[in-house]
């Protein structure tokens, strides 16, 4: 068990900066998720922690030890890859035992560790099979098993569930959660799927263009995103963004745009606001009828999608498409004009230039 | 004990004061540089490729360079001994003016054109035709078998077919048997200079290597999505059109690779000519000539020049290969 500390980590490939001045403290035993769109630098960061990429600038510590120059095999880490990276010519047992054999672990101990891990993952009966005889989910379990038997200080996961079909993904996700609960090993997990990030992470780091946008517990990134990117990335369906102008009335801030005029409650009104802002409202925060149009957004319905647990209503406001997640029993007609009440306590206001959250 | 500690302290003091001098610092820096340089050479990487590089260096690179130089020197067994004089362009003059050499050059050109056209052409046609029948695999094997046979074996096979018996005797060579059956006179095929016997030798080569080209073309052809061809057929194109306008262009890159491979092979043709005619009856080729000059007549200078001619002929294709290869690697 150990903490992982990244200090001012930068990675450059020639002129291109893949990771830009990233600093993070990952506490011992915590599950940290690096999440973001492809190319945001999350995998590169992970590989630097693993020792598979050289660090251009900055320092990485595992425990108390600076590991910048330490080769991967001496960092006491284990990694699970997106494509499993199982050795095709070895059976499952040997795949899992390989690392231990190289470390001259006594045979008896290898045996017990492999069997223990296999039991934990439900693959004891597959120990003599070769990878090509296994299904995707089983291969992934072997990959995880290979990491477990090493008893490392840190687990590193590189998009391990991306190659599985949706149903299997959900199942493996819960299994990983249970595993973490049992083993309590410090884990760094990379994914592009924000659902995985939200469900698995103790803290998530949302990355974009090599920069960590926000590093916080999942709920916080949902409730209090630090900028528009995080706000739009976390949460599904994504937050709606509308252009709005700011004016003041009776000391409160009023945001106005096509189809809406909203007065912010007093405790949320700020003084220093630019004239033009971006208003952010989550689909689930648009609900309830508002017959008089107060505190509401007006839109013309273009599409509805019945999901069973909610009704997604799509409408156009200006050129932007707005999505609302309503009670599934609501009756909404296409091409009708509806007013949806906005939850004024949870809406966000962003600076259109800097993208930062203002309110 | 005390003396020991005293000595150590003195030494340490000396050492530290030395370090502070400019010389000391310089030495330290140099040492550090050398150390880092040594560490940065990836010894292990070089260890992996070293055996291959050594062998290639000795057997391919070094001799090539030396042979080029040697072509400017005279005959003689030794490489660069006292008996071997510089003769300038004498050998080269021989290469380009001697009658037999000119015949050889002409023949190699003939080989290059006919052999390449034959193997590539037949290979392509067979690949396309065979794809349409169910017994494809069987015929493919039949056509490919000669590729597994040695040149020596093939030469015997065809020498037998070209065999000649005077008209009053039964023919035992298949070709003459056909000719006689059709009412003609038997012919000593391999004696028919200057064109026919060369062509008959080239036939042997084509017989051997068409299978090789066919296999490659077949793989490339099967890579063409069937829907492409079906769409064309539905659009109204007849088979010939489909072949000309779709199949051929798509196979052109493969054909280019195969053709260069074939040309490079055929410029070096030796075995067939050596076994069947040994270059007589104006069937001589460059490789055979080089062998004779070196090992029969002992004229190493001339032989080197002839070898260099071969190299010169092949260099354009080497460059083509490398360029193509580099483009591939870049795309990786």
């Amino acid at each position: 068990m150990a903490e992982v500390t990244l200090t001012n980590i930068t990675k450059r490939f020639g002129d291109f900066t893949a990771v830009d001045d990233v600093s993070m403290d990952i506490e011992d035993g915590k599950f940290t998720v690096l999440v973001g769109p492809s190319g945001c630098g999350k995998t590169t960061t992970l590989r630097m922690v693993a020792g598979l990429e050289e660090i251009t600038e900055g320092e990485i510590k595992i425990g108390e030890r600076v590991v910048n120059r330490v080769p991967p095999k001496d960092r006491d880490i284990a990694m699970v890859f997106q494509n499993y990276a199982l050795y095709p010519h070895m059976d499952v047992y040997n795949n899992m035992a390989f690392g231990l054999k190289l470390r001259k672990t006594p045979k008896a101990e290898i045996k017990s560790r492999v069997h223990e891990a296999a039991e934990l993952l439900g693959i004891e009966d597959k120990l003599k099979s070769k990878p090509r005889e296994l299904s995707g989910g089983q291969r992934q379990r072997v990959a995880v098993g290979r990491a477990i038997v090493r008893n490392p200080k840190v687990f590193l996961f590189d998009e391990p569930l991306s190659n599985l079909d949706a149903k299997l993904r959900v199942q493996m996700r819960t299994e990983l959660e249970q595993l973490h609960h049992k083993l309590r090993t410090t884990t760094v997990y990379v994914t592009h799927d924000q659902v995985e990030a939200m469900t698995l992470g103790d803290r998530i780091a949302v990355m974009k263009d090599g920069v960590v946008q926000q590093y916080a517990p999942p709920q916080e990134t949902y409730d209090h995103p630090t900028n528009q990117f995080v706000a739009g990335f976390i949460g599904s369906p994504a937050m709606n963004f509308l252009a709005a102008t700011v004016s003041r009335r009776d000391g409160t801030v009023v945001l106005a745009g096509t189809g809406f005029e909203l007065a912010l409650p007093a405790h949320r009104s700020r003084d220093a606001l630019p004239e033009r802002v971006i208003l952010g409202v989550r689909p689930e925060d648009l609900d309830g009828p508002s017959p008089d149009g107060d505190d509401a957004i007006t839109l013309t319905v273009s599409v509805t999608e019945q999901l069973g647990h909610s009704l997604l209503v799509y409408g156009d406001v200006d050129e932007a498409q707005v999505v609302a997640s309503l009670d599934p029993h609501r009756k909404v007609e296409i091409d009708s004009t509806i007013h949806l009440r906005v939850n004024l306590d949870t809406l966000h206001v962003f600076d259109p230039e800097t993208m930062e959250t203002l309110v | 004990m005390e003396a020991e500690t005293k000595r150590r302290k003195l030494f340490a003091r000396l050492f530290h004061s030395l370090r502070r001098t400019a010389v000391g610092r310089l030495v330290a820096r140099v040492c550090r540089l050398v150390w880092h340089w040594l560490r940065s050479i990836r010894w292990r990487s070089w260890a992996f490729v070293a055996p291959a590089l050594v062998l290639i260096g000795f057997f391919l690179v070094y001799p090539t360079v030396v042979t080029v130089a040697r072509s400017f020197f005279g005959r003689g067994v030794q490489l660069f001994g006292p008996k071997v004089h510089f003769v300038g362009l004498d050998n080269w003059q021989f290469v380009f003016t001697n009658e037999i050499m000119l015949t050889a050059l002409r023949n190699n050109a003939l080989w290059a054109v006919l052999f390449t056209t034959g193997t590539v052409g037949f290979g392509l046609i067979l690949a396309v035709l065979l794809d349409r029948v169910r017994y494809e695999k069987v015929v493919k094997s039949i056509v490919f078998i000669p590729a597994a046979i040695s040149f020596v074996g093939a030469s015997i096979v065809w020498k037998f077919i070209y065999a000649y018996r005077p008209a009053n005797l039964e023919q035992i060579g298949a070709l003459n048997a056909v000719v006689v059956a059709l009412g003609g006179e038997p012919v000593g095929w391999l004696l028919q200079r200057p064109w026919l016997n060369n062509i008959l030798l080239i036939v042997v080569g084509i017989w051997m290597w068409t299978g090789f080209c066919m296999v490659i073309f077949s793989a490339a052809y099967k890579n063409i999505p069937k829907q492409l061809l079906e769409a064309a057929r539905i659009d109204g194109a007849n088979e010939w059109r489909v072949f000309r306008r779709i199949i051929l262009p798509l196979l052109a890159p493969t054909a280019s690779v195969v053709a260069t491979t074939m040309v490079v092979q055929v410029l070096k043709v030796f075995d067939i000519v050596y076994v069947m005619t040994n270059g007589n009856f104006s069937t001589e080729v460059i490789a055979n000539r080089m062998y004779k000059e070196a090992f029969l007549y002992g004229n190493y200078g001339r032989a080197s020049a002839i070898a260099v001619v071969l190299l010169i002929l092949i260099v354009p294709f080497m460059i083509l290969n490398i360029r193509r290869f580099a483009a591939q690697e870049r795309g990786r």
Partner: protein, 285 residues
């Protein structure tokens, strides 16, 4: 009805293919038949004349083969060919594997350029190499010895073999190497315990390809070995046979078949690997 129509429409196709197949098969067939006939019959009638009496046993014999193997010493030559081909191919494939791995997965300055040079050397005519090497061989006493020709064949085959093996090794997924690095495998371990086992199919193809090439070779044997029966490989002996006994078809045909026997067996039993070997080098993707 439809099928008959199809059959008729396809007749030209079948005829054309049949002609091709015939041209390709007949020469070898003629050779095979002749090798079982006695000298008198061969001189007296063409081999195609046996067809009416195909199954009457009396006209066949193994005399020619016996003669060629024992009196003409081709049995010894066959062994020599084995002694030459197997070690040379094994060493060549082995060294090429190391080099291919180094070029594919280990970084060092000039790696790419060096590799392209090695591959480019594939086309160098062997004639360029004989004259400078022979004096050195003579001095070292390697001329006319098996080790001498092993080295020569190995070196000559390295560019192509390295290229083919490299083709395969470069395609191994990178994360396998990452995993090995994390597991703690040194480059040598990774090479020996992971890459080589995975490469076995490719190595098999390369091995067979190279083996047949060396088995069928004439030129290198001519240059590096004397025609002494004790070391002469099959091709060399047979070539001499053609020069000396050019009209003795009973011997030549049997000899030809002795030389073809092994390649044909290898070809038929391992066709897959052989073809894959060719394709690996030539068709991209």
């Amino acid at each position: 009805m439809m099928n008959a129509k199809k059959l008729i429409a396809k007749t030209p196709l079948h005829v054309a293919i049949f002609v091709f197949a015939a041209i390709w098969a007949i020469p070898t067939l003629g050779l095979l038949i002749t090798s079982f006939r006695d000298p008198a019959s061969i001189a007296g009638s063409g081999w195609w004349t046996i067809f009416p009496r195909l199954l009457s046993g009396g006209q066949y014999s193994l005399e020619n083969y016996v003669g060629v193997i024992y009196s003409e010493g081709l049995g010894r030559s066959f062994l020599n060919s084995l002694i030459i081909s197997v070690p040379a191919t094994a060493i060549s494939t082995f060294i090429a594997s190391f080099a291919a791995f180094g070029f594919a997965w280990m970084g060092f300055t000039g790696r790419r350029t060096l590799f392209m040079v090695v591959v480019g050397l594939m086309v160098i005519p062997l004639q360029m190499t004989f004259i400078p090497i022979l004096p050195i061989y003579n001095k070292l006493g390697l001329h006319g010895t098996f080790p001498g020709i092993w080295l020569a064949h190995t070196a000559y085959g390295l560019p192509l073999t390295t290229y083919l093996v490299h083709n395969f090794m470069a395609g191994i997924p990178k994360d396998l190497f990452d995993s090995a690095a994390i597991d703690g495998a040194s480059p040598l371990r990774t090479f020996w315990n992971i890459v080589m086992p995975i490469s076995i199919p490719a190595l098999a193809s390369v091995f067979i390809f190279q083996f047949l090439w060396i088995w069928n070779d004439l030129l290198v044997s001519l240059v590096y070995l004397t025609a002494q029966k004790s070391v002469a490989p099959l091709m060399l002996s047979i070539a001499n046979l053609v020069t000396n006994r050019g009209q003795d078809w009973e011997l030549l045909t049997a000899a030809a078949f002795v030389s073809m026997a092994l390649p044909l067996v290898v070809f038929f039993s391992l066709q897959r690997y052989f073809v894959r070997g060719i394709l690996a080098g030539s068709v991209k993707g």
